[in-house]
């Protein structure tokens, strides 16, 4: 799919704490550069919007430079390589307003200077589109489970560019947010996903049972706030009774509760919509237990599972370029140069206008 018939798309992502720039042609990934400000947020226990926005501005052009040819290119060569770009795609939303605006401003300037179309695209749909770069064109339709620090959504994807529907969403915390909050309760680091995943491997999965939010309520929605409170109660009760809580046991019980509901509802969505393919993406898709349990349940239900490699699951520019390529291929009109950031861009709108 890397023929020259497909436009070369430069994708820019700045919706949260990752400055991502990728180059994509069709389903072919040509480069993917990310600068993260995650370390600057760690001591605050979450992303600080102003810190993220400052870091995006610092990282924007250096990351573009790396994506088009490496940090040692002389400016003249950067400009030359940029002239090969056929379209600019940028995250228009959802995300943090100030962070989005850095990427959108840069993207517009590149589009104007290079005289190429601008596509403001949906961050969430980008997480689904990125799988094409690794596993080829997505079957139509498919169901997608997006799990990250900011989102937990189930989508029906008839077509990446033109037909995306929201099947279910978290009613409170995102799954990744629950990981961060529980990690803090347990004195583990930020972000919480990797240390909880590691600790859980040492835990006894039968020792504790935490509740499953919105379990069997007939919806495809999620809830993780009650689970977080249940963990906090367990920890406080332990302190009151003078027993040291077992971090691995709590971690494994918490993680089982999260991935049990996520995978069950994702497979339910596939079955109830008669869809044979499930894509799981977003930062939490890097979680080993989620991948394992999803694999087992999909196999049992006869659903084919696609999970991008962890590097592509987290926020990056290639996913935005991948969706930009889809939108361009669908012949949709480019976004106007007065495109605004839309912090709550609905997932039904893959392209912002």
């Amino acid at each position: 799919m890397s023929s020259d018939e497909h436009p070369l798309v430069l994708g820019i992502e700045t919706s949260c704490d990752e400055t991502g720039v990728g180059l994509v042609r069709g389903c072919g990934l040509l480069s993917d550069e990310v600068a993260s400000s995650v370390d600057e947020h760690a001591r605050f226990g979450g992303v600080v919007p102003e810190v993220a926005s400052r870091a995006h501005l610092e990282a924007m052009t250096p990351t573009v430079r790396r994506a088009v040819g490496g940090p040692d290119l002389i400016p003249d060569d950067v400009a030359k390589r940029l002239r090969d770009v056929d379209a600019i795609a940028v995250t228009a939303g959802p995300g943090l307003a100030g962070a989005l605006l850095v990427g959108i401003s840069a993207a517009k300037a590149y589009a104007l200077a290079l005289d190429v179309p601008l596509y403001g695209v949906n961050h969430l749909v980008g997480h689904v589109a990125v799988d094409q770069l690794e596993h080829g064109p997505l079957p139509k339709p498919c169901v997608a489970l997006l799990v990250s620090g900011g989102h937990t959504s189930l989508l029906y994807v008839g077509d990446l560019a033109t037909d995306v529907r929201l099947l279910g969403d978290t009613v409170d915390d995102a799954a990744g947010e629950a990981y961060d909050k529980v990690a803090r309760l347990l004195g583990l680091g930020y972000p919480g996903g990797p240390p909880i995943d590691r600790a859980a491997r040492e835990g006894d999965p039968t020792a504790i049972h935490f509740p499953r939010g919105k379990w069997g309520d007939g919806s495809l929605d999620f809830s993780f706030s009650g689970l977080k409170t249940a963990v906090a109660r367990w920890v406080e009760d332990g302190q009151r009774d003078g027993r040291a809580p077992s971090v691995p046991d709590i971690a494994v019980a918490f993680q089982e509760s999260v991935v049990d509901v996520l995978t069950r509802k994702a497979v339910d969505a596939c079955v109830s919509h008669g869809v044979g393919h499930l894509v799981i993406s977003g930062g939490v898709a890097a979680n080993s237990r989620l991948r394992e349990l999803a694999g087992q349940r999909c196999e049992a239900a006869g659903v084919e599972l696609r999970v991008p490699s962890p590097r592509l699951c987290t926020d990056n520019g290639a996913m935005i370029a991948a969706l930009g390529a889809e939108v361009a291929a669908a012949g949709l009109p480019p976004s106007p140069l007065d495109l605004a950031a839309d912090t709550s861009l609905p997932v039904e709108r893959p392209l912002a206008t």
């Binding site: 995006h56 400016p75 517009k108």
Partner: protein
Amino acid sequence: MLLLAFDTATPAVTIAVCELDGDGARVRAETSSVDARRHGELLTPGIREVTREAGVTLAELTHIAVGIGPGPYTGLRVGLATGHALAEALDVPCHGVATLDALAFASRRDAPFIAASDARRKEVFWARYEDARTRTGEIAVDRPADVVTSGLPVIGHGAAMYGDVFGQPPEADEPLYPTAAALGEVAVRRLAEGRELPDARPVYLRRPDAALPGAPKKVRQ
């Protein structure tokens, strides 16, 4: 020298194309609008319009000059991100000009004064000027009551917002906002004189607002 200038560090979005003319600068085209919430929407279309009006293509530009603030941060970054990307794609240098210097220059004053812009949170960014072209100190951020005016007139949006504190008639505040024409002229003159311009990096003057988390809240009463 054909220079594109813009500033987004105040409620105004202002854009101009300037060129060297003798030992000064000539403004080929300019536009300004005041809308504190739409910098990101207005800037790039404005650049397209102003260059068109000036009869130049972007490829003909030789320099970019952008306001580096200080000013409300989200708007400020719109200008800088745009400047950096344009400069990279066009392979031209991008220089910085302090936003208050452009405001001061736009005033054309020849006697000492203070320039002040809104810094939000009931504060102003301010600096002291000998005349329109000469700043005599560092830019600071303070509550209006803490600005040492020494009886000098205070110009700019920051003065207009706190007229009661500065105790001067409204017409003394003009101009309220910097213009890209003035910013471009500052840049063209300094470049022509071989003087350095600041890097095109944001001047924030404040650390990000972020509180370290306390202990987790108790869930048991």
